[in-house]
Symmetry: C2
Subunit: 319 residues, 2 copies
DNA sequence: TTGAAAGCGCTAACAC
DNA sequence: GTGTTAGCGCTTTCAA
């Protein structure tokens, strides 16, 4: 900047103002300086600016990247979120600092102006650990009632409810839920499902399955068969589970959707091109990421921010 | 730091040395200072350090996040890479700055000490754009011969070759390749496949398919049938394609693996729990990410770094 | 083994 | 509309 100032015959501060679009500077002067900067390949020194402004202009995104079979954290899911987050933060002049839980002790993370937690609900210990940093924080997932964190997540209750409605309208009266309700998000799906069916006096059966694999889905259906359970609809809380369930149903000699309706969750590409094409609950990850970003930004600016749930939609295909 | 110095009755610089593990400082003094720092929740100001050291201690990772059907960029893939990158860079005291191509004009990205490009091969225009930044850069994908970029990628030629060997040992003599060889990585797979088969005097058929979906795989098989092609093995360059191909084969009234052997690529979770369980070429994304990170770090330190390909392995399951 | 001085590149506050 | 001064918090000389 000092060099540009010398070249332009002006002072450093005028250069600074010109480059940061300050209204204090004469438009012509500004253009001249900008041109000079371009010409000489000038680049703003972020560290110096951040030091001066006492801000890092950075938001740390802490991701659970260990692909555990326990959690649907592999899939298109995290990338969609990250895309939305990145887009929104970049537009606001903030950087996205990507870390795992282990890496979160790094000085750069501690210095972040804000924190976004992905892949762990509010219930996890991790959240409390990061609470202590005293930095604006937003969490993806399902909120706990009475919890004071800002949580953004898709409306899992609604997800359960729309599937319930769908089944009821199809005349299904013996629905089954497959999944692991000890995950808060899954628990909400189950809840929405149960409540919406309850209105019609229907009580679904819960088949608890911890793994989110196709095998696990097939196995669940085999169990139903072994227990001679009468069922005509399955709501699986992941697409892989759903696909496995369909396989199990076909092995029983029954048809989908003739004898049994099946709906999955997440609307993964594989489901759409599966045969029969899987009906599934769709969530807009990108939008979720953008919302997460906007919330941290609000908190950073000392503006209020509330938890928010995103709508989901049922994509009805052939199952 | 000045505060800590006052508290300890020492000078700023001694505090700085103590906290950065300088051998110049008395071990007892160091411990005393560290204890003090902990006690008072002292946090290093990264911007100030970076300003002084004239480094950002940041590596920008530029990801193509638009999930195009053209490329398998959704999937576990990028997260595995990102995990490896993050792990390695964090351990070296560097931060991972995540951006998209659009966001790459941000000042923070321009200030990065290094660049990692994901999701676009060396052939893309994007690479040349980033070249101009004059920052150490490493690219994921397939290299071009004669190209001077540092490229890390899995050994796609080997991937093709192991599948060829596998087919030959099974007695298959009429193999087909399904995929889009205009992608450099896919092109290499095809090449390895063709060359390894050529040794045995076998010439595979290329079924060009641009989409990496299951439908596209099914369609490819239907085309083979319509053209009355005699085939007994299919190498699909994605798992989704392979699954679609298997469906097509079954619709023809033929069996997998009885009549036709099928191998996919990427070894996605869905393939393993597909029925029949899909054989696939496995790549170690995590390791790839770590390697990418180590290469940029080397370049940043002005050490030499060469392109490198990672081995892949064929996971033989039921197809 | 410790310290004093200097300065990295930027911008807010206050003149003019 | 432009300039001067000062200082953000750190580490590399150089000196003791």
């Amino acid at each position: 900047m000092a060099d540009l100032a010398k070249l332009a015959g002006l002072s450093k501060i005028t250069v600074s103002r010109a480059l940061s679009d300050s209204p204090l500077v004469n438009p012509e002067t500004r253009e001249r300086i900008r041109e000079l900067a371009r010409e000489h390949g000038y680049k703003l020194n972020i560290s110096a600016r951040n030091l001066r402004l006492r801000r890092s202009h950075t938001v740390a995104v802490i991701v659970e990247m260990k692909p555990s079979s326990d959690r649907t954290m592999f899939d298109p899911y995290p990338l969609g979120l990250l895309g939305g987050i990145s887009q929104e933060l970049t537009a606001a002049g903030y950087s996205v600092l990507l870390t795992t839980r282990q890496g979160a002790t790094a000085a750069a993370v501690q210095a972040a102006d804000g924190l976004i937690l992905l892949g762990q609900g509010v219930h996890q210990d991790a959240v409390h650990r990061f609470d202590k940093l005293g930095v604006p924080m937003v969490v993806w997932g399902a909120g706990l009632k009475g919890d004071s964190h800002v949580v953004v997540g898709s409306d899992n209750r609604l997800g359960g409810a729309v599937v319930a409605d769908h089944f009821f309208r199809l005349g299904r009266r013996h629905p089954v839920f497959i999944g692991n309700p000890s995950h808060p998000e899954i628990y909400e799906r189950l809840n929405g499902f149960v409540d919406a069916l309850g209105v019609h006096g229907i009580k679904p059966l819960l088949m608890r399955r911890d793994e989110f694999t196709a095998d696990s889905g097939t196995d669940a259906v085999h169990s139903l068969q072994a227990r001679k359970v009468d069922f005509d609809a399955i709501f699986a809380c992941s697409d892989l589970l759903a696909i496995g369930a369909i396989r199990g149903i076909q092995q029983m000699g029954r048809t989908v959707p003739g004898d049994v309706s099946v709906v999955g969750y997440d609307d993964m590409p594989l489901g759409a091109s599966f045969l029969p094409a899987l009906s599934s609950v769709h969530q807009d990850w990108q939008e979720g990421g953008m919302l997460l970003a906007r919330k941290v930004l609000a908190l950073i600016r000392d503006e209020p921010a509330q938890s928010e749930t995103l709508p989901v939609s049922l994509v009805v295909r052939s199952t």
